[in-house]
């Protein structure tokens, strides 16, 4: 094949530079090698796992109600789980509200909009990025270690995680704002405060609300997980029940989680459509 010239003036075979083609093939080779290495590492362990179908019958079976007696038991367990369910919801809501309220002003300092000097806002944003990279469950462990087990630990964990995540997302929304209305506010004689209130906030408000609602959804799921390390709610109940092999309760809790998550997912979706 005759080489052709691509847009940057280099000779290529199919529009892509030779160097770029080499990189592509190298990458494919490395990826295949990585996959092979991964599977080779797993083979010794694969030989040791037992037959799963037996485990399904013994472990998952009791989770599903099989008889009328099972259903009645499930109902009585349900009533005792009510409290745990409420605390899961309370942790998620309190954590999200506190996190979002603080993230709102914090985002102004982390956004590269020129209101705060660029180096300062860049530095603040980096701090938040570092905070974001800590997995929620680690934060939960640390908070539980500091303040003890229970719902308060859960709420504090979620507030912290929400604060860090939302500040970054809100700041990004501020950065992608359309400069047109801002110019218009300046043109009619508005000062910086007016530029902010009339140029920026009307543009980012829908994003703020929908992001906050989305994080409420995520926090509900997280509050299940952090319960596993003792931060309260249904997750803590679940952990207890697994330890004592009360599989019927485990099945019920998992079912409640599935229903709850889907319900919140749907409500959040509808609310976000209204606001954005």
């Amino acid at each position: 094949m005759d080489p052709i010239t691509n847009y940057s003036g280099r000779k290529t075979l199919d529009g892509r530079s030779i160097l770029s083609s080499i990189f592509v093939y190298l990458f494919i080779f490395l990826f295949v090698a990585l996959t092979v290495w991964s599977f080779l590492g797993l083979i010794p362990d694969l030989a040791n796992i037992r037959n799963g179908s037996d485990g399904v019958k013994r472990f998952v079976g009791p989770m599903i109600p099989q008889s009328a007696a099972n259903w009645r038991d499930d109902f009585s367990i349900l009533l005792t789980l009510k409290i745990a369910l409420y605390s899961t919801i309370q942790m998620a809501v309190a954590g999200t509200v506190v996190g979002a309220l603080f993230a709102f002003p914090a985002s102004f300092f982390a956004a590269r909009t020129g209101i705060i000097p660029r180096p300062v806002s860049g530095g603040i944003k980096s701090v938040f990025n570092i905070g974001r990279s800590v997995p929620t469950i680690i934060v939960a462990l640390i908070v539980v270690g500091c303040v003890g087990l229970g719902d308060a630990a859960g709420a504090i964990t979620l507030a912290l995680v929400t604060f860090v995540t939302l500040t970054k997302l809100f700041a990004e929304a501020l950065e992608t704002v359309n400069p047109g209305p801002i110019e218009a506010v300046k043109a009619v004689g508005g000062n910086s405060a007016s530029v902010f209130v009339y140029g920026m906030i009307p543009q980012v408000f829908p994003v703020y609300v929908s992001t906050a609602l989305y994080s409420l959804e995520m926090n509900l799921q997280s509050s299940f997980i952090i319960g596993l390390v003792g931060a309260g709610g249904l997750g803590a109940e679940l952990m207890n029940d697994v330890r004592v092999y009360n599989l019927q309760a485990v099945g019920l809790i998992v079912f409640i989680m599935i229903v709850g998550v889907n319900l919140v997912d749907y409500i959040s979706y509808r609310l976000r459509r209204v606001f954005a």
Binding site: A184, V185, A187, V188, G190, A193, P206
Partner: protein, 169 residues
């Protein structure tokens, strides 16, 4: 000042958008709290009437057509009660019919209210049809400043087409 992209707040009402024009006359505190005076509110409605949008004050700007949006923008400019209206490519994003409507509105406003309108545009036909004085720029210099009738086809090539593009077709 009015703009090519209108620069309105789409999510807010027409009335609120026009009121934004009064920000230069308000204290910081009132602006931040969205506290516009009764006179300002009445003035905004009056300006909406003058641009032909009476009754649309409660609509969201995003539900309006391009021509209506530009009228809202003009109302926002009028509410400042200034003597000059600056239009930066105000008709570039509008269809042919609406272009003429907006130009007609600007001409009416300047004749009735003694408003001086300065428009930057690249539509020569529109300029010749509606404006009373045309200033031409080329290569960063003013090359023409006279009545529209004097901007004939022969003159245009010299006066407006940049030197590098001359002789290309």
């Amino acid at each position: 000042m009015i703009f090519q992209e209108f620069n309105l707040l789409d999510r807010l009402t027409v009335h609120k958008n026009v009121l934004v024009g009064r920000l230069g006359y308000m204290t910081s505190l009132s602006s931040v709290l969205h506290r516009f005076s009764k006179t300002d509110r009445a003035l905004a409605l009056e300006c909406l009437k003058r641009v032909g949008l009476e009754g649309l004050d409660r609509r969201r700007v995003r539900d309006l057509s391009g021509g209506q949006k530009q009228r809202v923008a003009i109302a926002r400019a009028l509410v400042q009660q200034a003597q000059i209206l600056i239009a930066d490519e105000a008709t570039a994003n509008l269809d042919l019919v609406t272009k003429r409507e907006i130009m007609g509105l600007i001409v009416d406003l300047s004749q009735q209210n003694g408003l001086t309108a300065i428009l930057s545009m690249h539509d020569l036909d529109l300029a010749k049809r509606y404006c009373t004085r045309i200033v031409g720029l080329k290569d960063g210099r003013i090359t023409f400043d006279a009545k529209p009738g004097e901007l004939t086809d022969e003159v245009i090539e010299d006066v407006l087409i940049p030197t590098r593009a001359q002789g290309n077709g």
